[in-house]
Each structure stands twice: as C-alpha cells, then as structure tokens.
C-alpha cells in the first residue's frame, strides 16, 4: 500500500496531520501498538522538522506485510553537517519554533532511537531526504 502526503513549511497548525493519517492506517492494520508508537513518533519528528526548518516537502509511505518504509523529502536549506545535526542538543531552530514547543535538538536522535533503520542525505540549499524503516515483527 502506498500513500503520499504534502507537508507545508512554516505551518504549525497542520504539522502532524500526515503522521496522524499514518497512525490511523497502522491501527486499522492491527500493527503492534508499541511499533505504531515508535513509527509515528519518528514520522512526527520528521514532519515537524520539515515544518520548522524547510519550505515544503512530502511524506511517501509504503506499507508491506512485514514493514513500513517512509521517505520524507523536502525543499529547503539542507543540513551542512549531518553528524553535528544528529547530536542531542544541536539545534538551529528559530525563536518562533521554540515558542511552539520545539527546537531542543532532540528530534533526529529520537528518530534514530525509534526506528529500525534511518538514512539521511542532504544537499545545502536544495533539501533533505530522510528514510525511516520499521519492521512489524
């Protein structure tokens, strides 16, 4: 099963709506609740990152019998140093993003913790691509 969702940069009132749809689908498929939580927390962190740090993006979801593969791609400033961005506490979030309750530099490390596989590539001034894979078994 494949699904695609748009993500709007800067629009915090819509942030999370794509992850919410994925959660509903996984619930309907009776996936283990612990795996649903790990997956949707990862997706939500990634979705909020697009809203907070990029201009626009999309979430491509591919659900198989044994796993979910999600690609979140965005058009945006990109990440110059991924190792640095992966460190807990590193954040370039604006005051507006912090006011929304984000910008602690915890998102990317939290995605790593909550996913079985995480692949991230980025090009400065072009955008970022993040792949998250979780197995149901």
């Amino acid at each position: 099963m494949e699904f695609k969702f748009e993500i709007e940069g800067g629009n915090f009132s819509k942030a999370g709506s794509a992850s919410s749809e994925v959660k509903k689908i996984l619930k309907q498929l009776n996936v283990n609740p612990k795996i649903i939580k790990r997956t949707v927390v990862s997706l939500y962190e990634a979705e909020v990152n697009v809203v907070a740090h990029a201009f626009e993006g999309n979430m491509n979801v591919d659900i198989d019998t044994d796993k979910i593969v999600v690609k979140i791609e965005d058009r945006g400033p990109g990440i110059p140093d991924i190792d640095q961005a992966m460190q807990e506490g590193y954040s370039t979030a604006t005051p507006q993003v912090r006011e929304m309750g984000f910008g602690a530099g915890m998102g990317l490390p939290n995605i790593k913790r909550n996913s079985d596989q995480m692949n991230i590539t980025s090009k400065v001034d072009v955008g970022t691509e993040l792949e998250i894979i979780n197995y149901f078994g």
């Binding site: 009132s13 999370g16 959660k23 939580k37 927390v41 929304m100 309750g101 602690a104």
Partner: protein
C-alpha cells in the same frame, strides 16, 4: 495510581473534554512545556502536565499515546485543540495552579515521576 476524579478534586481542575470516566487511574506524571522532550518518553499511562497550549501539545500526545493532559497556569485549550483531543480520546484538564504547585500536589497524592 491516582484517579482522574482525585486530580480534579485536589487541583480544583476543570474537565474540558474526555470520556467522562472519572474512575480512570493514572500512574505517572511528566511536566514539560517542551514537546521535544515529551516525544522522548516511552512510559505508558501518563499524565502530561504543561503550560504549552497549542495544537502541537495535542498532536504530540496523540503520537505518544498520552491520554491525559493537564494545563496549568490557567492556560485554556482552544476549540480546535478540544476537537483534536476528543477525536483521539484524550482527556483535557485545566487548572489555575503553577506547574510547580500542581506537580507537588499530584506527587503527594501518589502520581509517580517517570525518572
């Protein structure tokens, strides 16, 4: 374990939305205005105590399977927040206490810290 009814009673809190089952029991509490931190918690049966009243508070709880949110410092939930909370069967409470006072009262009646 603390009953929702006791939280309401001891904090003089208002139930803004929820199942109405005041006998539901909550084991843990986590207080933060930072959703980045809330998203790192993987404890079940949790009351989120927060002064952050925007839609992302509800979204974060939805993703984290948090079923109870207490707003402190008289922060009010918007209509949109109530709708999203109801849709996800999240109980919303509001109280006028500071976060520190709310937490100390809740700890006294038996709500446990996550770490």
């Amino acid at each position: 374990m603390v009953k929702v009814a006791d939280v309401v009673d001891k904090l003089n809190a208002r139930v803004i939305c929820g199942s109405g089952d005041m006998n539901q029991e909550i084991q843990f509490g986590f207080a933060s205005d930072l959703m980045s931190d809330v998203l790192t918690i993987d404890t079940e049966n949790l009351l989120l105590i927060t002064g952050l009243n925007n839609l992302q508070t509800i979204r974060t709880s939805e993703m984290s399977d948090i079923s109870f949110i207490l707003f402190v410092r008289d922060k009010k939930a918007s209509e949109e927040m109530k709708e999203l909370a109801c849709e996800n069967e999240i109980t919303l409470l509001e109280c006028g206490h500071s976060m520190f006072r709310a937490c100390s009262i809740l700890n006294e009646i038996g709500l446990q810290p996550v770490y």
